[in-house]
C-alpha cells in the first residue's frame, strides 16, 4: 500500500511494474485517475466505482467491478474478495488489458493469452471453485435484473448471471429466453470440451482448460486491450 502511494508518478514501484509494461506517463495518468476515483484516499472501495457515470449503463458492471476486487486477479495467493484495493492492485488489474507487443515470441504470447483468459475466467467463476457452473452462467434465483441496478443493491456474493445480465439490456427478451440461451451455451461448451458424453455423465462446469478450448477461435490477445495502455511500449526499461 505504502509503496504505491509513496511512488510519485515518475517512480513507480519497480517490482510490480516489471511485468506491467506500462510507461511512466501511463502510470501517471492512471494514478491521477486512481486518486480521482478514490477521492484522494489510499485505496479504492467498491463504492468509489459508483461515481463513474458512464459505468451505470453497463449491463455487467457488477461483475467488472467485482473483478477488480477479486484476489485471484490481484496475484495474491489467497482467495476471496478484497475490501479495497490500492494503486498497485489497480495497476495489476489494468495490466490485464495491455495490448500485445510486437516482439513477443510464441511462448510469451501463449502466457500472455492465458493470463488474459484467466482474468475472464475468474470473472465468470463467481464461487471460486474453478468451474463455471450452469448456475453461474445463468442465474435462476434472482429476479430479472433491472436495467440499471442500483449500486447499493449488489448482492454480496455477487452472482454472475452472465447471460441474464448481458441480455438485460433488451427488456423484451424474457428471462426464460436468457435461461435457455445459457443452457444452450452450456450444452455447447460441454460438447466442445467433453465431446462424447455418456447419457449419465454430468457436465459439472467449465473448467479453465475447457475455457481455453472455448476461446480457441478468438484471438483474445488481439482484442482484450484498452487503447491508452498502448501509447508507447517502451516498457522494459523499468
Amino acid at each position: 500500500l505504502g509503496r504505491a502511494q509513496r511512488g510519485p508518478p515518475g517512480s513507480p514501484p519497480v517490482t510490480s511494474l516489471l511485468s506491467l509494461a506500462v510507461t511512466s506517463e501511463q502510470i501517471e495518468h492512471l494514478h491521477r485517475r486512481f486518486k480521482q476515483l478514490s477521492q484522494d484516499q489510499l485505496t479504492i472501495r467498491k463504492e468509489n466505482f459508483d461515481s463513474i457515470p458512464d459505468l451505470e449503463f453497463n449491463p455487467i458492471r457488477g461483475k467488472i467491478v467485482h473483478a477488480f476486487f477479486d484476489k485471484r486477479n490481484l496475484r495474491q495467493e489467497s482467495d476471496g474478495l478484497a475490501e479495497e484495493i490500492n494503486f498497485e492492485d489497480f495497476l495489476t488489474i489494468m495490466s490485464y488489458f495491455r495490448p500485445i507487443e510486437m516482439n513477443m515470441d510464441e511462448e510469451q504470447l501463449d502466457r500472455f493469452r492465458k493470463e488474459k483468459l484467466k482474468f475472464l475466467f475468474h470473472m465468470y467463476d463467481s464461487d471460486h471453485d474453478g468451474k463455471i457452473t450452469l448456475q453461474e452462467y445463468r442465474n435462476v434465483k434472482l429476479g430479472p435484473p433491472c436495467p440499471i441496478p442500483h449500486p447499493q443493491a449488489w448482492p454480496e456474493p455477487l452472482p454472475l448471471q452472465v447471460v441474464e445480465e448481458l441480455l438485460s439490456g433488451n427488456p423484451h427478451l424474457e428471462k426464460e429466453s436468457a435461461r435457455s440461451i445459457a443452457d444452450g451455451a452450456m450444452m455447447e461448451a460441454a460438447s466442445i470440451c467433453v465431446g462424447q458424453m455418456g447419457p449419465d455423465q454430468v457436465y459439472e462446469g467449465i473448467t479453465f482448460e475447457d475455457f481455453l478450448k472455448m476461446w480457441q477461435g478468438i484471438d483474445i490477445e488481439t482484442k482484450m486491450h484498452v487503447r491508452f495502455l498502448n501509447v508507447d511500449t517502451i516498457a522494459h526499461c523499468y
Partner: protein, 899 residues
C-alpha cells in the same frame, strides 16, 4: 470455352444479321401476318443476350473446378471478353460494343457497391475505420500525385514518345484515375483468396472509400486541364480541397439520409410484404442517383446507405424478404461484375482508341506498383503506432500487391475529352494495360503469394454461442475498463453509440416486434439451433437409414401401419387370448420398427395439414406450410435437446438402475437403436429420429399426397419413451416438471400457438414409469373416459362417433392408441389380466380411427373385418371381468400397471 464461344458467336451473328434483314421493305401493301420488329426490341434484346452469354460463360468456367481454383473468374471473363470482342471486330469490321461510362456508372456499378455495402461486416469495418480511411484518403492522394508527377518527370526526361502531348496537369489527371484501387476488381479477386478479415476489410474498405478521393481529384484535375494551366488560380486549389470534403462528407450524408428513410419505410411494410425488397433496392439506387446528381460521391452514398440501413431493415422485413434481398442483390452484383469484366475485354479490342507507348505503359506499371508499396509501408508504419493490432510485413505485402485497378479507371479514362486531353489515346491504352495487368497477372499470382507467405487465412467457422456470448461480454468489459480509467477511447464511443442506438434509433426505426427479438446473442442462438437441426437431419438420416430404415422400397406408411396392426390382430385374435405377454412375445422385429416409425412420425409430424386453397395473389404470399412445419420441428427439436441436457445435468444416477432393468429387454429387441446411445450429448436419440421422419415424411408425401392433407395421426408415443428413456431415463418426467425450454423459441418463432401434442401425450410420457405421481390421475381419468366406452358394444360405437368428431386434434386419440406400443414398457411389470384390456382396446381404436378418418380403401379394408371380429371378443372379455362401475376400476388398473 470453344463451344461457348461458338454459341456466343452464333448469337452474335444473329444479332448482326438481324438489322440487315430488317423490316421487309419489299413487303407489299396489305395486311401482314407477322412483322419483323427487331428494331423495337434491339436494345433490350442485346442486353439480355450479353447477360446470357456472360452467365453461360460462368457456368462453363465452373465446370472445371481446377481452372477456377487457380484462375480468378475475373481473368477468365476478361479473356472471354477479348475473344468475343475479337469475333465482333472480325464480323462487324468495327468495334461494336464498348463499356460505356454512362452505362457503367449508372447501371453496372451501383449493384456491386450496394452489395458490398449491405453485406459489409459493419463491426469489422468500423473497428478498422481509421486504417481504412487513412489508406483510402492519404494513400490515394499519395498514389495519384506521386504517379502523376513521376510520369511527368518521365515525359520531361524525353523517354516518352513525343506524340504524348501532356503537361503536368494531364499526368496528374491520369494519375488520379489510375491510382485508385478498384472495388470491383478487389472484391472479385479477394473473395477467392481467403485472407483474414482484417486484411480483407482494409483493402476492400479502402477500395470503396477511395472513390471520393478519386472522384474529386478527377474532377478537379479535369477542370484544371480544361481551363488550361494558365487560368488556374490559387483559389481553385482551395476549392479543390474544399470540394473533397464536400464530396466525401456530402456523399456519406446522402447515404445516411437514405438509410434512415429506408429503415423508416420498412418499418411500415407489414401489410405489403411482397414489395419490401423493392424498397431496399429502390432507395439505395435513388441514393446513388441523388448523390450522382449533385456530383457527390455516389459510391460513398450507397456504401453507407447499405452499411447503416442493414441492421434495421433486416430486423423489419420478413424472413422471406431478407432472403429475396440477399439473393437479388447477389445476383445483380454478380451479373454486373461479370458484364463489367467481359466488356473490359471486349473494349480492349477496339484498337482505334489505342495509341501504344511503351515508355508510358511500362512507366505507369512500374510507378503504380512502386508507389503503392511505398505508400502502404509508410502509412502502415504510422498506423502501427496507433493500431492495437499492428499490421505486420506480410500484411503489408498483400496490401501492396492487392491494389488492383479495374473498370472504374477504365470508365473514367474513356470519359476524358479528347479535345482537351490530347494524350487520351495513350492514356486509354495504358489504362487498359494496367487494368489487365493487375487483374490478370496480379489476380493470378496473389493466391500463390498468399499461400507462400502463409498469410493468416480467415477461418470460416460460424461463431459458437459461447464465443458470441463472450464477445458480447467482452465489449462491455472493455467499455467498462475504459470508463474506469477515464479514457474515452474507441470502446467508449462504441458503447455510447450502442446505447444511443438502443434507446432512440432502434425504437424509432424498428418494429416493436422486431426490436424485441433483436439481439445478437439471440440471433446466434437461433441460428445455431437451425444449424443443429440441419445436422440432425444429416446425421440422423445416415444413422437411421443405415441402421434400420434401409428398406429397399419404402412402403408407404399406410401399408406399414396396416401390417403392424394386422400382425398384431392376427396373433392376438386367433387365440382369443388377450394376455399382454402373448402380444409381446409375438412382436416381431418388424413390429418394433413400425413402432419406432410411428413414434418418429408422431413426434415430428405436426398438425394435420389442411389443404391450402390454391390461391393466387400478386400481393400476398400465403404462408408456406413447409415453413410452418420446419418451425414446429425445430421447436420440438430444441425442446428435446434442452430436455436431454437438463436430464443429463440433473439426473446423476438416481433412476439408472431402474431404467436399465426396464430397458434390458428392449435393448435386445432393438439393437439398432444402440448407436443413439453413443452419441454425444447434444445428439440425443429423439431429435435424430425426429429429423429422419421429416425427411421420410417428405418422401412419403411425394408418394401419396393425399395423406398429407388428411393429417395422419401417429401415436406410437410409448416407443418414444423407449428410445428417449434409454439415453435419459428421467426424461419422461421433464416435459411436465420443466416448462418446455423451447417455449421462448416457440413464442418468438411462431406466433400461432401450435404447441405440440397436448396433454394426452404428456400423459403417455408419464404413464409407464411415473404411476406414482400425483398428477397422473388427471391424465388417466381423462383417458379412461375415452377408453371405457370401448368395452361395450354400444359404447364402442359411441366412442367411434366421438372420435370422429374430434378427429382433427391428433393428441386426443393418441392416448389410447399408443398403448399398443407401450406394451414393451409394461412387459416386465406385474401383470394383471385386466391390464391387457386397455392395451387391447387401444389396438382396436387404431383401425377404427383409420377407417373413420377417411383413409384410402386399401388400409381400412383389412382392418375393418378384423376389428369387427374382435369387437365381440372384447366385449365379452370386458363384461366378464369388469363390473358395471367400470370407470374407477380402470383408473386403478392403470395405476397398477404403472408401478
Amino acid at each position: 470455352r470453344e463451344r461457348r464461344r461458338g454459341g456466343a458467336e452464333r448469337r452474335e451473328r444473329r444479332g448482326h444479321a438481324a438489322p440487315g434483314g430488317l423490316p421487309g421493305p419489299a413487303a407489299p401493301a396489305g395486311a401482314e401476318l407477322l412483322r419483323w420488329q427487331w428494331r423495337e426490341v434491339q436494345a433490350p434484346c442485346l442486353v439480355a443476350a450479353w447477360i446470357l452469354v456472360a452467365s453461360l460463360a460462368k457456368i462453363v468456367f465452373h465446370l472445371s473446378r481446377k481452372v477456377t481454383s487457380v484462375v480468378p473468374e475475373s481473368c477468365l471473363l476478361i479473356l472471354l471478353g477479348l475473344g468475343l470482342g475479337g469475333i465482333v471486330l472480325a464480323v462487324a469490321k468495327k468495334a461494336e460494343y464498348q463499356l460505356e461510362p454512362n452505362m457503367f456508372f449508372l447501371f453496372l456499378l451501383p449493384p456491386i457497391v450496394l452489395d458490398s455495402g449491405y453485406f459489409m461486416p459493419s463491426r469489422l469495418f468500423f473497428d478498422n475505420i481509421g486504417a481504412i480511411l487513412t489508406y483510402a484518403v492519404v494513400g490515394t492522394l499519395w498514389n495519384s500525385f506521386a504517379t502523376g508527377t513521376a510520369l511527368w518527370g518521365l515525359h520531361r526526361a524525353g523517354l516518352m514518345d513525343p506524340g504524348v502531348e501532356a503537361g503536368l496537369m494531364d499526368f496528374l489527371l491520369f494519375g488520379s484515375l489510375i491510382s485508385a484501387v478498384d472495388p470491383v476488381a478487389v472484391l472479385a479477386v479477394f473473395e477467392e483468396v481467403h485472407v483474414n478479415e482484417t486484411l480483407f476489410i482494409i483493402v476492400f474498405g479502402e477500395s470503396l472509400l477511395n472513390d471520393a478521393v478519386t472522384v474529386v481529384l478527377y474532377k478537379v484535375f479535369n477542370s484544371f486541364v480544361e481551363l488550361g494551366p494558365a487560368h488556374i488560380h490559387a483559389a481553385d486549389y482551395v476549392k479543390g480541397v474544399a470540394s473533397f470534403f464536400l464530396v466525401s462528407l456530402g456523399g456519406t450524408a446522402v447515404g445516411l439520409l437514405f438509410a434512415f428513410l429506408l429503415a423508416l419505410i420498412t418499418r411500415f411494410t407489414k401489410r405489403v410484404r411482397i414489395i419490401e425488397p423493392l424498397f431496399v433496392f429502390l432507395l439505395a439506387y435513388v441514393a446513388y442517383l441523388a448523390a450522382e446528381m449533385v456530383s457527390l460521391s455516389a459510391i460513398l452514398a450507397v456504401t453507407f446507405c447499405g452499411i447503416c440501413c442493414k441492421k434495421y431493415v433486416e430486423a423489419n422485413i420478413s424472413q422471406k424478404s431478407r432472403t429475396t434481398v440477399k439473393y437479388t442483390m447477389k445476383t445483380l452484383a454478380s451479373s454486373s461484375e461479370t458484364i463489367i469484366f467481359m466488356f473490359l475485354g471486349i473494349s480492349a479490342v477496339d484498337t482505334s482508341k489505342w495509341t501504344w507507348d511503351t515508355a508510358l505503359v511500362l512507366g505507369t506499371l512500374f510507378f503504380i506498383l512502386l508507389f503503392r508499396a511505398v505508400g502502404v509501408v509508410l502509412q502502415t508504419y504510422v498506423l502501427n503506432r496507433f493500431r492495437l493490432i499492428p499490421l505486420d510485413r506480410i500484411d503489408q505485402v498483400v496490401m501492396s500487391y492487392g491494389g488492383l485497378r479495374g473498370a472504374v479507371a477504365f470508365a473514367l479514362v474513356i470519359l476524358l475529352d479528347r479535345e482537351k486531353v490530347k494524350a487520351k489515346d495513350y492514356f486509354v491504352a495504358t489504362t487498359i494495360v494496367v487494368v489487365f495487368f493487375t487483374v490478370i497477372v496480379q489476380g493470378l499470382t496473389i493466391k500463390p503469394l498468399v499461400t507462400w507467405l502463409k498469410v493468416k487465412r480467415s477461418d470460416h467457422h460460424k461463431p459458437t454461442l459461447n464465443e458470441e456470448l463472450h464477445e458480447h461480454a467482452f465489449d462491455h468489459i472493455l467499455a467498462a475498463v475504459e470508463d474506469i480509467v477515464g479514457h474515452h477511447g474507441y470502446h467508449y464511443w462504441r458503447d455510447k453509440w450502442e446505447q444511443f442506438d438502443k434507446k432512440y434509433l432502434s425504437q424509432l426505426l424498428m418494429r416493436k416486434s422486431a426490436y424485441r427479438l433483436r439481439d445478437e446473442i439471440w440471433d446466434v442462438y437461433y441460428k445455431l439451433n437451425i444449424r443443429d437441426a440441419i445436422s440432425f437431419v444429416d446425421q440422423g438420416g445416415h444413422v437411421h437409414s443405415a441402421a434400420k430404415l434401409a428398406l429397399p422400397s419404402m412402403p408407404s406408411r399406410t401399408s406399414m401401419s396396416e401390417s403392424s396392426v394386422t400382425n398384431l390382430l392376427r396373433e392376438s385374435g386367433s387365440g382369443a387370448c388377450l394376455d399382454l405377454q402373448v402380444i409381446d412375445t409375438v412382436r416381431s422385429r418388424r413390429d418394433k420398427e413400425d413402432a419406432a416409425m410411428h413414434h418418429v412420425l408422431r413426434g415430428s409430424l405436426y398438425k394435420p395439414r389442411r389443404r391450402y386453397k390454391a390461391s393466387y395473389s400478386r400481393h400476398f404470399i400465403s404462408p408456406d406450410k413447409q415453413e410452418r412445419q420446419d418451425k414446429e420441428i425445430f421447436r420440438q427439436n430444441m425442446k428435446r435437446r434442452l430436455e436431454t441436457f437438463k436430464s443429463t445435468k440433473h439426473n446423476v444416477c438416481s433412476s439408472k438402475s431402474k431404467a436399465r432393468l426396464k430397458e434390458k429387454g428392449r435393448k435386445k429387441a432393438s439393437p439398432s437403436q444402440a448407436p443413439h446411445q453413443t452419441k454425444p450429448l447434444h445428439l440425443p436419440a429423439a431429435p435424430v429420429l425426429v429429423m429422419v421422419s421429416s425427411e421420410e415424411e417428405e418422401s412419403d408425401s411425394s408418394e401419396t399426397e393425399k395423406e398429407d392433407d388428411e393429417g395422419i395421426v401417429f401415436v406410437a408415443r410409448a416407443t418414444d419413451e423407449v428410445l428417449q428413456g434409454k439415453t435419459t431415463p428421467e426424461l419422461c418426467k421433464l416435459p411436465l416438471t420443466v416448462p418446455p425450454s423451447a417455449s421462448p423459441g416457440s413464442l418468438d418463432v411462431c406466433p400461432s400457438p401450435c404447441i405440440i401434442p397436448p396433454s394426452p401425450t404428456l400423459a403417455e410420457k408419464e404413464l409407464p414409469w411415473k404411476g406414482d405421481q400425483a398428477d397422473l390421475a388427471v391424465y388417466v381419468s381423462s383417458e379412461t373416459t375415452k377408453i371405457v366406452p370401448v368395452d361395450m358394444q354400444k359404447a364402442w360405437n359411441q366412442s367411434i362417433s366421438s372420435l370422429e368428431s374430434i378427429a382433427s386434434p391428433p393428441g386426443i386419440e393418441s392416448g389410447p392408441q399408443h398403448r399398443r406400443f407401450a406394451c414393451p414398457v409394461l412387459e416386465e411389470q406385474p401383470q394383471s389380466a385386466s391390464q391387457a384390456m386397455p392395451e387391447q382396446s387401444s389396438c382396436f381404436q387404431f383401425p377404427s380411427h383409420l377407417s373413420k378418418s377417411g383413409r384410402s380403401q386399401s388400409d381400412s379394408s383389412p382392418d375393418g373385418p378384423e376389428q369387427q371380429e374382435l369387437q365381440p371378443l372384447m366385449a365379452t372379455e370386458e363384461q366378464g371381468r369388469v363390473p358395471p362401475s367400470a370407470e374407477p376400476r380402470w383408473l386403478m388398473f392403470n395405476r397398477a400397471g404403472h408401478l
